[in-house]
Amino acid sequence: MRDIAVVGFAQTPCVRETDGTTNGVEMLVPIFHEVLGSLGLTKSDIGFWCSGSSDYLAGRAFSFVSAVDAIGAFPPIMESHVEMDAAWALYEAWVKLLCGEVDTALVYGFGKSSAGQLRRVMAMQLDPYVVTPLWPDSVGLAGIQARMGIEAGLWDAEAMASVAARSRAAAVSNPLAQLSGSVEVADLLATPYVADPLRRHDCAPITDGAATIVLAAGDRARELCERPAWITGFEHRTDSPSFGARDLLTSPSTVAAGKAAGAEGVEVAELHAPFSHQEILLRQALGLGDDVVVNPSGGVLAGNPMFAAGLARIGEAARRVHDGSASKVLGHATSGPLLQQNLVCVMEGRE
């Protein structure tokens, strides 16, 4: 198999609301410029383009087609799209490189969540016959899972608030974070419920943003990057969409993806946990010990650009290899209700 690495990563600031359109062009143009510029590439050096976004989030049809304007797709390019977090677009691009069709790929995700009402938009991903007609909101659903874990003794309100406090503290070193700072767990616990047992700090904020990653194969990767983040395991798995039939206190798809991708021994893990208790659950599912640095960027509790946040987790993890601060890292992405689908990308630096 060909060796493939993450060689470049850029993302926009995570912000509560941007002035731009929902087709993402205004967010994408600067980060394409940044990531290509940092590698000394131009658009004509990219063999394959792949994106992740959602028309329901954008509130318009074919928003991903409008987004292609940000590339400048002339002469015509090879391009694809997934209606999922762009971490799955990265998977598609990785397969394309594995097949040997191209040597470089640029992957991007974007979402302007502020345009609509995110809690309602997320009901569109549920079973359209027996669940969506009730308009379950994403926060209310996560609250059920959080309470089940509290009552099973897997976590409590204080442990959840500690996740949030640590996330914001870590995000102080991340200039692109939406929420950061020093907060006391006791102060967080004194705030009202959004959806009992969830408080505001337990829920990822509503964020507009975009992210992009450049992949390259073999010698091309070595040319472009002093210390490429070589992908040594890349797996995704899914659980039943019927969440009433699932054991919500674990995540079999995360366990399986982590095992298959070879998650053991990672030093840094960036986890896509939109709710505080899900970080605890994912740590357990991936078997991450106390010695593993989790979400040094602050994670999505510090900024959650929909359809880009999972890709950004992989980019943030890769960055730790690029800068030499870690030699084996993991990026995780989730999709679907209550951690239904999970993707794990393990990357390593080589001397």
């Binding site: 731009g20 359109t21 929902t22 009402q117 938009v121 027996v130 379950p136 659903l141 419920y193 019927s242």
Partner: protein
């Protein structure tokens, strides 16, 4: 810089789906005030019923009657219900394991207060009076040890309609904004790409050829050339003009991309590629941030433009 123009957009659609044998049975039975599950490969009874086993992917066919009463397995409290949710007063979302089922159904519990909710609480279905064969035939659950209402006869259902309404605020891009503000004053504002010098009308957030934001504004006249056109002969819902009429691509003088507009004041059989046209504006008091300020185009009477002048814009 001022904030770009923005406007609300409500998107609505009635999704109509056929149900098939499994969900058709489930929703027909709800209409009859009955709840039906299905036995999975491992013997578990799934409610709602699944068409295929979540582990073995085997087709499931053994329907099992379950009760309209059950127990709360997990819950959250919604202090401010959202549009479309089962109750418009504070309620609990709950996973409810009905008596006789092994999996849980998501629904609302009308508990009044979170103090009255608990995992393990007994609940029963509150049936809607006007049932149509939908999950919302269960109005909600209520805290009770008592049995729910008895089943009644009802016709089979094979389809379900789910209205979806979502609300957005759409912003114009930084390049669309001056275009829209210009229209309010009867001006046609295009943008030039700094890389390839192409002039876009309407403007786009970035030049689709070069991927760079356009920055230079240009005002165009309201005269142009028909690059191509079609004669609309087919009536359709919402049509404002009786067919036949002409929809034409108009390339404004100085622009590099044509746009679609209505062409009137000429018989369809007399319209030609290359025909010179001019805008007919609505009365000024009707102007807004829209291309509809131009009611239509009409022939200007100038000689036809030579093919070479628009051949690159087809």
């Amino acid at each position: 810089m001022t904030k770009p123009l923005s406007a609300p957009l409500d998107v609505g659609f009635d999704y109509t789906r056929s149900l098939g044998p499994t969900l058709g049975r489930f929703l027909t039975d709800l209409r009859r005030r009955k709840v039906t599950g299905i036995r999975g490969s491992d013997g578990r009874v799934h409610v709602p019923p699944l068409e295929y086993d979540p582990v073995t992917a085997e087709r499931l066919t053994e329907f099992v009657d379950v009760a309209s009463t059950g127990v709360v397995r997990g819950w959250s409290w919604i202090p401010e219900p959202l549009e479309g949710q089962p109750l418009d007063r504070p309620f609990a979302w709950a996973l409810i394991q009905l008596d006789g089922a092994d999996t849980s159904l998501l629904h609302a519990v009308d508990a009044g207060s979170p103090d009255r909710m608990s995992t393990g609480a007994r609940v029963r279905v509150r049936w809607r009076a006007d049932r149509v064969g939908a999950i919302t035939d269960i109005e909600c659950f209520e805290l009770s040890d008592e049995p729910a209402d008895e089943p009644v006869p009802a016709d089979e259902v094979t389809m379900v309609t789910t209205p979806v309404h979502l609300h957005y605020t759409h912003s114009a891009s930084p390049t669309e904004d001056p275009f829209l503000r210009g229209l309010m004053e009867g001006r046609l504002i295009a943008q030039r790409c700094p890389a390839c010098s192409k002039v876009y009308f309407p403007p786009r957030p970035a030049c689709p050829t070069d991927g760079v934001p356009t920055t230079e504004q240009i005002e165009l006249s309201d005269r142009g050339t028909v690059t191509t056109f079609c004669v609309v002969n087919v009536p359709f819902l919402g049509q404002r003009i009786p067919p036949p009429y002409v929809s034409a691509y108009v390339l404004l003088d100085g622009a590099d991309i044509p746009f679609l507009h209505l062409l009137l004041g000429v018989a369809p059989e007399d319209v030609r590629m290359g025909m010179r046209v001019e805008a007919v504006w609505k009365p000024r008091e009707e102007w807004g941030p829209t291309m509809q300020n131009i009611d239509h185009f009409r022939p200007s009477g100038e000689p036809d433009a030579p093919f070479d002048s628009y051949s690159q814009h087809l």
